[in-house]
Symmetry: C2
Subunit: 732 residues, 2 copies
Amino acid sequence: GHTRIFRDTDDSNRGVFEDLSPNEYKSVRDYMFETSKIGLVPITKAFPNQSYIYLIDLHIPLKTSVLEHLDRGSVRLKRVAKVVVIRGNLESPRVEEYLVSPLPVPKSHRLARNPLYARYPVPYTSRPMDQVDYRFVYPIISQFTKEIYHILMDSYGLCYHNCTKGINCMLFRDTAPSGLESGDRITWFRAYRDVDGYFLHPLGLEIQIDHKSTDISDWMIERIMYNGHLIYTVSDFIERYNTGQIKKVSLLRPVGRPEDLYSSYHRRGTSEMPHPLRPPRLMEPDGNRFTITNQHVQYMHWDLDVRMRPSTGLQIFDVRFQGERLAYEISLQDAVVFSSGYGPAQMISNLYLASWMIGASSFELVRGVDCPDTASFLDLHHFVNSDEPMLYRKSVCVFEQDPGIPLRRHYEDDLRNGYRRYGGLVDYHLVVRHIATIQSSDYIFDYIFHLNGEIQLRVSLTGYVQATYDVPFESPYGNPLYFGVAGNVLQTLFHFKTDLDIRRVENRFAILEIKKETQRHPWYPGLNKTQFRLKKHSLLREMDLVVGDFPYPNYYLLFDENPTNQYGTHRSYRIINEGVTPFLLDDVNITNAANWVKYPVIVTKYDDTEDHSSSIYAQNDPWDPVVDFERFVNDNDTIVNEDLVIWAAVGIYHVPSTEDVPSTSTSSQSRSLRLVPYNFFTEDPSVSSPNTVQIIPDGEDIKVNMFGTSDDVSCAPQSLGPQTFYGYRADD
Amino acid sequence: GHTRIFRDTDDSNRGVFEDLSPNEYKSVRDYMFETSKIGLVPITKAFPNQSYIYLIDLHIPLKTSVLEHLDRGSVRLKRVAKVVVIRGNLESPRVEEYLVSPLPVPKSHRLARNPLYARYPVPYTSRPMDQVDYRFVYPIISQFTKEIYHILMDSYGLCYHNCTKGINCMLFRDTAPSGLESGDRITWFRAYRDVDGYFLHPLGLEIQIDHKSTDISDWMIERIMYNGHLIYTVSDFIERYNTGQIKKVSLLRPVGRPEDLYSSYHRRGTSEMPHPLRPPRLMEPDGNRFTITNQHVQYMHWDLDVRMRPSTGLQIFDVRFQGERLAYEISLQDAVVFSSGYGPAQMISNLYLASWMIGASSFELVRGVDCPDTASFLDLHHFVNSDEPMLYRKSVCVFEQDPGIPLRRHYEDDLRNGYRRYGGLVDYHLVVRHIATIQSSDYIFDYIFHLNGEIQLRVSLTGYVQATYDVPFESPYGNPLYFGVAGNVLQTLFHFKTDLDIRRVENRFAILEIKKETQRHPWYPGLNKTQFRLKKHSLLREMDLVVGDFPYPNYYLLFDENPTNQYGTHRSYRIINEGVTPFLLDDVNITNAANWVKYPVIVTKYDDTEDHSSSIYAQNDPWDPVVDFERFVNDNDTIVNEDLVIWAAVGIYHVPSTEDVPSTSTSSQSRSLRLVPYNFFTEDPSVSSPNTVQIIPDGEDIKVNMFGTSDDVSCAPQSLGPQTFYGYRADD
Ligand SMILES: [Ca+2]
Ligand SMILES: [Ca+2]
Ligand SMILES: [Ca+2]
Ligand SMILES: [Ca+2]
Ligand SMILES: [Cu+2]
Ligand SMILES: [Cu+2]
């Protein structure tokens, strides 16, 4: 069978990195409601001037205690939950964070001031958009569309409040940030035709709603953009439209039958296979070769603990190879999307994805499409923007891939039309994947573990382009994707934290420079020779790495100073960022919460108070951010034999073209950060793999050594395929 | 079954791009022997002062006639062979190239002066090393080793002329170039312990042999390097060794049992699977979904003709998508390996791989390791450095890969814990692969065709590091790989020619620049807005692209100026070089034959006389090369609405580390050049694929649309596995 997942359901026994169980979430919630005296109301019933829980998540203890627990088996650590409470009922409204413990049966809670935060208290306006916002904003939109019903029908033949699904509906979606300066909470909503792939059907109607006040009677429409015209009130819009002072939107093309809809995934055009043949697929004659026990994954020489942080997505802890810890933590911190354009929603849009909940937006994966048929899946739970823990079925998949290429091979010619020997090993690797869908886009996150000790972090972009209504002013920013629809240039960047611990916690960092040298030729007196030469610069302080420094072809190395390996070289891991992109917008205040973008790779001294480089408050106050990453660097700590953390910004620029219809292709929109052993092992550790194949000639025949691995193949396991999809989250 | 290869054996019917058949090779050879009056002798019996055929290859007609033949079905083209003849018996020895036609029954031959060549006649000393060289050089080595037998036994316990295989043998291998200036032919040979992976066992003994003369009695040892000492004669070496004036080599470690040998692929260490499980593998329930007819490959909407050029490897011609030609030719031109080090062989080594015959060094591929079990293979023939056409079994494989990642997908959340719809399509793609083994290294060449119209050219490095004996002076260049063995920094670069024809032969080229703009905010009077803006620069002349220009994040576009697509944008292909590396050695004369390295991407006007950017004469006269690529650019032709050719240099720097034992891993040593449609198609052409999967909710259930593709799985086809390897070439 496929799945070898063992799930221990005993809450009293959960590991230090294991997500909260549904019962733990409930007991924290119930404890807070019953004991905290905050006067909480359920988020599903809350008004902005009340207090409610936005999020509950695991709070991981300090690294030193966790290491003591893991390595020296000291007493069990107290299990703690973090609870984010929106305090709309305080005189000065704010966001509060509480620590509740011990789990599974809480006995205490305390308001915690997070030393990471540059601002305290956390501003009320910086909280993520939640169902309370939407509950009171959409009626304003609904009221607006009623008042302009004749305009909508005249312009589009569509309406909002009273339409027939699949026939003449429209919908509105927000963008972010909500305003232009710290303290704003004024959000642009954009109208779309409500069809499959609606992101490619902007209607040229956008409204900005002020919803900053705790008093919803203050909430109102502040600006309307229709077909390039800016209007400040609904009545003015109606009057100017009625009197012909506004140029009417002309949507050139009807969208046609659903099966012809350009924005849909429906198959169309001349098929390359009139009688479709089934595609190649992976099979595993002996089943999965990895095991999953609760949230612990074991594959070949690898051991790791995975958890899903609701805001930032997958966190991987205690990554070991052959029992030896390589990394304490590997995790995404945030991702940003810098957009450009003319329409107000497009022009203002600069997304901070962690504030949209990358983890809690990692929805169910489809077997056979999102992950191979052979994958195993993790069901997870989140408590975000709801009153109950929600079950996220198949939110992570784990599979072993045969990439169709050798990891290493050599054919040894005998220079006489024969061979001396052949050896090879396929680059089998384990992939841990989740896919977050935020707004129009889908972000595929792969954490890949190779047989040779290499860890690859790969992001791949797909999903829809966030299109904008194509007025002529849009043309400097992108390309038309359809009649009246433009797709504009964007830069997407991902910030990864990799807390490697190479051999021990105290490490050093160096740049190995590849340079040119000219010297007298030792073998031909009188001549010179010019060639490469290496020079290793070991860094002393955090700011020794220059902003925007471009790492290629230099090697960036994290190493243990003592002892060296048996040949006298430092045992190191190399950091390769294959997604270095220049940062063009560094003096733009909307990027203040993403000043990590300046550093393709930077190393800092580990600090318990610097556990994350961003926060869920970045999106709605990017101008004066709650977390300021650059402080981690600017205190310029010594980085000599300290616990070091590598931070890497992996980026992609994308200019959409017609080929982004219906969706962006991953093939050229994929970037990796690689952590590669460098004089760390005495030899490539994949030499231990019994999947190696060796062939030597034996007269006219051959001798094949497969080291005990059978190559019999009987029947393939049954395909499970996409039929195993649910598609919805459920409360437990 | 697996293989759907149809091979038409009728020689009178071969396509314009099809390699010579064995009978064609023989008839050309026989014609040359019988008719040419050159006085040819077989290469297997030749002396350097005689004339012999080194190589016979297909000569492709001019592009204009081929296009006329392909597009307008004009009369059949005359089939021509090119014959490279080494003319050692001329008063001024040289290399000559003859054109012989028509095939299959030649009637004429003519000495052809190739207008591509900057030098004429082609210098005798620039010819590739061939079996004539080796036949008379190795006896000199043998004589040398007899004279120093006691030194070899004393230093190493090894010998050469009289050893017991697998016990105490050593061997010698040459490096290149052969000398220091144009006209030299003095080659360094390096001694190794003769074991599995001997490249990692340099002995610290190197000799340089002068074999420039056509008179072999002039050939002699010119220099000897032993353990860092330079000696000029054998007798001096013996005397100084005997009298203790030379420090004896100390090899610290015995190599141990064959199964413990650090340089071998033998499985060792603690196995991750004491009872080995079989790995995942691809299966194809309906068999291959591509067809191969002679040398024509068809896959989904793709059509292409492949051939194997003996020197440069795979050439792909007439690449079409949905019947429309995208490229006339896609091919490797040459590859260079720039090394560094202290030992003379290591210091002098700068390899030009086409001179070592990339195509004729693309040996048999192992099913299940080098290519998936499901691959189909091409058997090819070469006539290089032999008297007979040689059969290269399974020299190319073609397979369809399931990469385990979607090409595109979108999960459309309904913002109410459910979904509106899901769509996805796996990034199935066709791979055409060959692997060349040259000296210690294996180069994996993949030509990949995606469903979305993208062509990916990928090179991956594996095989052995060319190690050098580790004297202390080696330490600035690399790392110790074992006791007394160093692996040094190298840069490898591949030069690709892509003659794209976008919609027609006349194209233009542009750089789309992504820059920053600040403008008055159209929606917030009084404020400014800074964001991205695009600016397209259409180039007028070849030299408008600056040397070393770094393409990221700018887009490099080849396009058809008229007509535009239905949205008014130019139909284009984008060129992405993911292997841009700085060129540090541009003032070093050994790189003169590789001045293409300066240009990560450059575009030239097509010229019939500029069909290749390098030649098989580059290696042995890199200082004053026969082909000078920079001339293609420096005449600064107009590139406006001309037939354009894109040349791209794809490079990797590599500092070997202990993990390169036994071999370099492909995982982080892989680079791609991508040709990606950009406003070329009206929408992603993969929308036509019946492998798309769409899911929509249907109450609590789901509706899955697989567009006619079955997901039944019955039995998997039998694994053929590595047992199907031959390993040797044979004459027909
Ligand atoms: Ca610091
Ligand atoms: Ca660390
Ligand atoms: Ca030119
Ligand atoms: Ca062209
Ligand atoms: Cu549950
Ligand atoms: Cu044959």
